[in-house]
Symmetry: C2
Subunit: 345 residues, 2 copies
């Protein structure tokens, strides 16, 4: 076994169709309710982890920038678990590169922690199955549990750590859906998702949203199984409004929508109702609108979204695969970004 | 007793601070939850009712326009009750004039049915106390129950018809609050409030909103009692978001907000948080924003709202009195609008 222990992995962001919001255990990220998502092929994070006995503290480099220790907190949850499991207590270089705009509500953390969990376990020779990897990623960021399996994914609410993981409902090619993400603002979020989850329980309607979740999951699963776009559209939009209803009525309230957000919501609904397009919207913790559509619609939806004043950019993505290990020799560019000798890989 | 039985009354619209949405009895308009409002002095409806033995069907004239029979349905609820009570079965001329823009979510029906209930009972010599008049007005439109008493008003949820009425919490001059109504659209509503109330129960969070109402009523009563603007602002905005959360998650969804609606909400919150203005927002079933403020703020709030692109007009109103009888000789103009001989009055 080499003195230097390196692992490299990549994972995609995901977009929730039935949202995760609120935890019953904030330390383990055991969620208040189950959720369903699909991975976003175009939004990718690659992460190289190198455990190094010479290192005196952990390092985190994202897109070539060294991050401050205050930003290591959630990463430590993963590294601590992995070190303990492997019995190896070296500090690590964590070098990550992503094409996901960070902190604008595009779930950059989901891809990041899924890739980190896989790279870190691989580096120390731990072989976790998909379920256990999903559980580990969950400790970094709840929604990261969903970026581990491929395609259309459900994250079970579970009863405890052991049975709270995500699994593939349908493979990526089961239904050609796309996410056209209308970016309307790249201002940093007023509050991180992590803090937001703690506020969920201050809303007087969070418990009703949670209690109603089994129904929404069932409707969503069936809509996906039957490739029934209109059924999917109704439940996805209702669920997004339930999420934002909880946010907008928590104390303090979280009000993420911008005027153009509302403009897009009206427009998308109109396209579906009046033009018969297979198109619906959902929103995470931010003002950007995710417009879900079928494959035959992508080009015209992207073009039509770009024509709306206030839309800065439209990212499009098909359904993506799960997290996967990369041969370390394919991660030379990451090593360089982290100023690690490439011969270590 | 004269052959011609005439009564005239006026009543104000009101703005709910804690909203009414959903009925447990749609025929009697027994509400799902209690509510609190104040009357809007500047938004007034005057109504003349004349029971006429020569008439072969009821007539309804609003602002000089004869209304079609299909629009008489809710009026019939009031007239039927009054005829039965008085034992007088003549048809009636109902002549009404209002300065309230209709069907844009400004509660024109609240003022209308409060004035109608009072004018009709007066015409037939019935002397209802305030409580019974509030119950009668409620049959026409739930929120009309709140336009009967003066000032700051609470509408008790009650247990049945008899104890489901509104009463004055504080007189109009208890606290100098104003409502600055930013009109952003005068398009007719996609769906009437009456139909909307029937949809409330299709939202998965309506029951949680209802269950939480006693708390909100208590917080609101205390904020009014203590003239504590910040406490009022927090509960009024939370309650408005709860109302729209239910609307936006009902089946079919009701989505009343326009982009400028959201712009105003952000702006008002900013005025309060950053400039320290006594100002907060609420919204009824429509895209217009009611901006509540203290008396010292009215001029600058009105001016600042008018400067927001997309705001068409700003109506301002202080807290108003309750419904009241007018001497019929002051209603000559109404008689003329309805082409009734003025010597009948």
């Amino acid at each position: 076994m080499a003195r230097i222990l390196a692992g490299c992995a990549e994972a995609h962001a995901n977009i929730a169709l039935i949202k995760y919001w609120g935890n019953r255990d904030h330390r383990l990220n055991l969620p208040a309710n189950g959720s369903i998502s699909f991975n976003l092929d175009a939004l990718l994070t690659r992460t190289l982890v190198v455990f190094d006995p010479k290192l005196t503290e952990d390092r985190l480099v994202i897109n070539g920038q060294e991050r401050r220790r205050e930003e290591h907190r959630r990463m430590q949850r993963i590294l601590a678990w992995v070190r303990e499991k492997a019995g190896v207590y070296h500090y690590a270089h964590v070098i990550s590169a992503t094409n996901i705009p960070m902190a604008v509500g595009l779930a950059s953390s989901a891809a990041a922690f899924a890739a980190l969990a896989l790279a870190a376990t691989k580096a120390l020779g731990l072989h976790l199955d998909e379920r256990d990897l999903s559980r580990l990623a969950r400790r970094g960021s709840g929604s990261a549990a969903r970026s581990v399996p491929e395609g259309f994914v459900e994250w079970r609410v579970g009863t405890r750590d052991e049975d709270c993981y995500a699994f593939t409902l349908f493979p990526a090619d089961y239904w050609e859906l796309w996410d056209c993400i209308a970016l309307v603002s790249t201002r940093p979020k007023p509050i991180s998702s992590m803090e937001g989850h703690r506020l969920a329980e201050t809303s007087p309607i969070q418990w009703a949203r949670v209690a109603d979740t089994p129904r929404r999951l069932e409707v969503c699963r069936n809509a996906l199984r039957n490739r029934d776009f209109n059924a999917l559209a109704d439940i996805v939009e209702q669920d997004a409004h339930l999420l934002h209803a909880v946010m907008q009525t928590s104390t303090p309230p979280l009000f993420y929508w911008e005027p153009v957000t509302v403009e897009i919501m009206h427009t998308v609904r109109q396209w579906r109702k009046e033009k018969g397009w297979n198109v619906c919207y959902t929103l995470d913790a931010g003002p950007n609108v995710h417009v879900i559509c079928t494959g035959d619609m992508v080009a015209r939806v992207q073009e039509a979204l770009e024509a709306i004043p206030g839309v800065q950019q439209v990212l499009v993505s098909r359904v993506g695969k799960g997290a996967r290990v990369l041969p370390t020799h394919l991660c030379m560019d990451l090593a360089q970004q982290g100023r690690i000798p490439t011969h270590w890989l």
